[in-house]
C-alpha cells in the first residue's frame, strides 16, 4: 500500500513540475524554509505523541528497574530483579489461561462480524438500520457496559427474565463459577467489539469494485462463491489486521472483567493482576516490569503472525 502511495506522490510532483514553468532553482532561504515547513506542521502531533506515549513508556521502563511503591519519594535502583521475579514466579503467568476464553471469543467475533458485513454489503432491506444496530455497542463507554451487564447477569436480572419469556427456567449464577463467569465476560466483550470488526470488514468489502460481482453473477457464481473468491481474498489485509488486534486484545483484556468482577472467581487477567500489584500491594516497580513484559509478548506475537502471514498485495483483477 505504501509503495503505491509513494509512486502516486512521485507522479503528481513530476506532473506538477512538467506543467509549471520552473525557472532557476529557488533561493537558498526558500529552500531551507521548504525543508523545515513539514516539520513545523509536525510539532504539535509529535509533542503530543512524545509527551503522552513515549515519555510515559520511558518512565515505565525506568520504574521497572526500581523497587518504587508508587508514593514514596525514595526509590532504589535494583537492576533486573523485578524481571527475574516475574520469570521465576509461575503464578504470575497462570492468569494467561483466562486469555484463552477471550481468544475463542475473538474467533467467534470475527466470524460473526464477517458474516454480518458480507450480508449487509449486498442489498438488504433496512440495511443502514442494521449497520447502526451492530456498530452501536462500540460507541458506549466500557465502564457503562460493565455496569449494564452486571444488571444483565444478576440473579433474576435481564438475562434470566428474557430466558423466562421463552419458557427456559434459568436458575444459575452467570458469574458464579470460573468457567461460566469467563464465558459471560467474553460474551460481553464480543458484544462490545463486534461493531468495530464489522465496520472494518464492511469498509473493506465496499472498496471491492461492484463490476466484479456482476461479472461473477453472469458466470453463474452464487453468493458463497462470491464470498469465497471475491470478498475473502479482497479483504485479506484487513482480516489479518483484525486477527492481530484480536490476539493482542485478548492478551490484555482489562476493563470488562475489572468493572464487573474485579478479577474475582478466576476472572483475573494479566492486566488486572498488574494493576493489583501496583495499587493494592504497592509494588509499582514490579508492576511496571510486568507491563513491559506484556508489551514484549504482544510485540513478539505480532511479529510471529506477520512472519506466518506475510502482507501480500491484493490483486483481484
Amino acid at each position: 500500500m505504501t509503495d503505491t502511495t509513494e509512486k502516486a506522490a512521485v507522479k503528481t510532483t513530476t506532473g506538477a513540475a512538467s506543467t509549471a514553468p520552473s525557472p532557476a532553482p529557488a533561493p537558498r532561504g526558500t529552500r531551507v524554509w521548504r525543508g523545515v515547513t513539514p516539520w513545523l506542521f509536525l510539532i504539535a502531533p509529535l509533542a503530543l505523541l512524545i509527551t503522552f506515549t513515549y515519555a510515559p513508556v520511558a518512565n515505565m521502563l525506568a520504574y521497572s528497574l526500581t523497587d518504587w511503591d508508587g508514593v514514596s519519594p525514595e526509590l532504589r535502583y535494583i537492576g533486573a530483579e523485578n524481571y527475574a521475579e516475574i520469570f521465576t514466579r509461575e503464578d504470575l503467568f497462570r492468569v494467561f489461561f483466562v486469555s484463552g476464553y477471550y481468544l475463542v471469543a475473538s474467533a467467534v467475533q470475527i466470524v460473526a462480524a464477517l458474516y454480518f458485513a458480507t450480508i449487509l454489503s449486498f442489498n438488504v432491506r433496512f440495511r443502514n438500520f442494521f449497520k447502526g444496530v451492530l456498530f452501536f455497542p462500540y460507541l458506549i463507554n466500557g465502564v457503562a457496559i460493565g455496569f449494564v451487564f452486571l444488571y444483565f447477569f444478576q440473579d433474576g436480572g435481564t438475562l434470566d427474565s428474557v430466558l423466562n419469556l421463552f419458557g427456559v427456567e434459568s436458575d444459575r449464577a452467570w458469574l458464579g463459577t470460573p468457567v461460566s463467569a469467563n464465558t459471560s465476560l467474553a460474551g460481553v466483550s464480543v458484544w462490545r467489539y463486534l461493531g468495530l470488526n464489522f465496520v472494518l470488514f464492511l469498509g473493506a468489502i465496499q472498496s471491492i469494485p461492484g463490476e466484479l460481482y456482476e461479472a461473477a453473477e453472469l458466470d453463474g457464481a452464487n453468493r458463497w462463491h462470491q464470498f469465497r473468491h471475491i470478498i475473502a481474498p479482497g479483504i485479506k489485509p484487513v482480516l489479518t489486521l483484525t486477527v492481530i488486534l484480536s490476539i493482542s486484545g485478548s492478551l490484555s483484556v482489562f476493563e470488562v472483567p475489572y468493572i464487573m468482577t474485579g478479577g474475582a472467581t478466576g476472572t483475573e487477567t494479566f492486566v488486572i493482576q498488574t494493576v493489583n500489584l501496583a495499587f493494592r500491594f504497592g509494588k509499582t516497580g514490579l508492576a511496571s516490569a510486568a507491563a513491559v513484559v506484556l508489551l514484549l509478548i504482544i510485540l513478539l506475537v505480532t511479529w510471529i503472525q506477520r512472519r506466518l502471514v506475510p502482507d501480500d498485495k491484493v490483486d483481484l483483477v
Partner: protein, 437 residues
C-alpha cells in the same frame, strides 16, 4: 536516509531524559503548631475529603461556617474525591495535595514525616486523644482521626426476633445456628456477603482483636501466624466460610449490590451484614427513605466472648493530616483541632469520639447494657504488618483472598479450607522472615 537516522537518535535520547523521575528533595520534619491567637491566623486552606455526600448536602459548609466564627480570617474550601486513594496517591508525587487531607492507606508510615507536618508529640497528644499510635513516627504524631469506628454486625432486629433469637450469639457455632433459624423461619437472606463490592469482605480483617479481647492483636499479626489454630483471623474466616458453605448467604454473591443492600436490610429482606458502626447512619437513612422503621437496625459484636464478656475493638477512621508543603500550616492545624474537638462530626455520624472520656453514641447503648468491653488495639507494629501484607501479596486489607475463600466455600474453587489456610500461613510467615522489621 542519514538525516532520518540522526533524527531518530535525537528523539530516542529525548525519550530517555524523563526516565529520571523528579521525586526526592522534599522538606522533612516540619511542624504544624497550634496557633495561640485565633484572630491572627489567616489564609485559605483546602481540605481534601472522601465525603462527597457531605459536600453536596452542605453539611461541610455548615461546619466551615461554624469554624470561621472562631477563626474569622481563615477560609476553608473542600474538595471531594470519589476515588480518594488512587487520586491522592498520584497527587502526592507533587506538592499540591491540599492543606488538610486524609492520610491515604498507601503511604508508608515511615514516610509520614516527608508528606505531613507533625501535630505534636505522642506523649502530649495521647493524654487527650485516642488513636495517636496509628500515626506516630519517632514519637511525633502526624494525623488525627475525627472519629472512631467499631466493627460489628448490622442486623435487622425485627427479622432476628421473628426467627426467635433474642440474645446475641456468643460463639460462631451459635451464630450459624441463629442464621439457620432465620433461613428456616423467615424469608430474609440470613447473611449478605456483598461479595462484588470487595471491601465489604476485607472488613473481616477487623475481627482481629475482638475474638480474644487482645489489645496486642496487631503485634500477633506482625510476629505470629494469623491462620494458626484459634488465631483471630482464622476464627473470623472460618465463620465466613461456614456461613457460605451452609448456604446462609445470598444466592448469587458475584452480582451482589452494595447500594441496594442498604434498603433491603432495612426492609428485612437481608438479616445481617458484617460492617462497622459507621454504617448505622447509612442504613437508618435507607430505612427512612424506604418508609420503614429505622429503629429496626441493630448492631451486635462478633460472636466470641472472653470471660463471658464481648469485646469490641475501636479503631480510627481516616486520619487527617497537614500537608508538609502547605503555606498555611497554622490555619490547617486550627481546622484539624477544631474539627476534632469542637465540631459535631463524630456525633452526627453516630461515631465514637476521638476525645478520651467522651460518651458513646446512642446506637451503642445496647453495648453498654450488655457490658461489651471496648478495646483499642495497639498499632505500634501496624506498619510492619502492612509491609508483610504487601510483600507476601496475601492482602488482608484487599478483597481477593476472602473472595477466594467464599468461592472455595461455595464450590467455585477447588481445594480444602485447611489447605487454603495453610497456604496463607506459609506465605505470611515466610515473608515475615525475609521482610523482617
Amino acid at each position: 536516509m542519514n538525516r532520518r537516522h540522526i533524527l531518530a537518535m535525537v528523539a530516542g535520547a529525548a525519550l530517555l531524559v524523563p526516565g529520571c523521575t523528579g521525586t526526592g528533595g522534599t522538606s522533612k520534619g516540619a511542624d504544624a503548631e497550634a496557633p495561640t491567637d485565633p484572630a491572627k491566623v489567616t489564609g485559605t486552606i483546602k481540605v481534601l475529603t472522601v465525603r462527597t455526600d457531605l459536600i453536596q448536602d452542605g453539611t461541610l459548609k455548615r461546619y466551615a461556617a461554624e469554624f470561621s466564627k472562631a477563626y474569622p480570617k481563615v477560609k476553608v474550601e473542600f474538595e471531594g474525591l470519589t476515588d480518594y486513594e488512587a487520586e491522592v496517591k498520584i497527587r502526592m508525587n507533587t506538592k499540591n495535595y491540599g492543606d488538610v487531607l486524609l492520610i491515604p492507606a498507601v503511604v508508608k508510615k515511615s514516610d509520614y514525616p516527608k508528606f505531613f507536618a507533625s501535630l505534636g508529640t505522642q506523649e502530649e497528644r495521647a493524654k487527650k486523644y485516642r488513636f495517636t499510635d496509628y500515626t506516630t513516627v519517632d514519637g511525633k504524631v502526624y494525623g488525627q482521626s475525627p472519629n472512631g469506628v467499631s466493627p460489628g454486625f448490622i442486623y435487622n432486629k425485627r427479622i432476628w426476633k421473628e426467627a426467635g433469637v433474642t440474645e446475641w450469639p456468643t460463639t460462631p457455632a451459635e451464630f450459624i445456628a441463629d442464621l439457620k433459624a432465620i433461613k428456616a423461619k423467615t424469608d430474609a437472606i440470613p447473611y449478605y456477603t456483598n461479595f462484588a463490592a470487595g471491601w465489604t469482605l476485607s472488613g473481616w480483617t477487623s475481627v482481629n482483636g475482638s475474638v480474644h479481647c487482645d489489645p496486642k492483636a496487631t503485634d500477633k499479626l506482625a510476629e505470629g501466624d494469623p491462620w494458626a489454630k484459634g488465631a483471630d483471623l482464622r476464627v473470623g474466616d472460618t465463620l465466613l466460610h461456614d456461613m457460605v458453605k451452609a448456604g446462609l448467604i445470598e444466592k448469587d454473591p458475584t452480582t451482589s449490590n452494595w447500594e441496594e443492600s442498604k434498603p433491603r436490610t432495612a426492609k428485612g429482606e437481608i438479616a445481617t451484614q458484617w460492617l462497622g458502626t459507621w454504617a448505622i447512619v447509612q442504613f437508618q437513612d435507607a430505612a427512612k427513605k424506604a418508609g420503614v422503621n429505622p429503629d429496626d437496625i441493630g448492631f451486635m459484636p462478633f460472636p466470641a466472648q472472653t470471660g463471658s464478656t464481648f469485646c469490641a475493638t475501636i479503631s480510627p477512621d481516616y486520619n487527617q493530616g497537614v500537608n508538609v508543603h502547605s503555606q498555611h500550616k497554622a490555619a490547617a492545624r486550627a481546622w484539624i483541632d477544631w474539627f476534632t474537638d469542637k465540631s459535631t462530626y463524630a456525633q452526627d455520624n453516630l461515631a465514637i469520639s476521638p476525645l478520651k472520656g467522651a460518651p458513646l453514641p446512642d446506637v451503642l447503648k445496647p453495648y453498654e447494657e450488655a457490658g461489651v468491653k471496648f478495646i483499642e488495639v495497639d498499632d505500634t507494629k501496624g506498619a510492619q504488618v502492612k509491609n508483610v501484607d504487601n510483600q507476601s501479596e496475601v492482602g488482608i486489607y484487599a478483597p481477593e483472598y476472602r473472595q477466594n475463600l467464599v468461592d472455595l466455600a461455595r464450590g467455585a474453587r477447588d481445594g480444602s479450607l485447611e489447605a487454603f489456610f495453610a497456604d496463607l500461613s506459609k506465605r505470611w510467615t515466610e515473608t515475615q522472615r525475609t521482610a523482617g522489621s
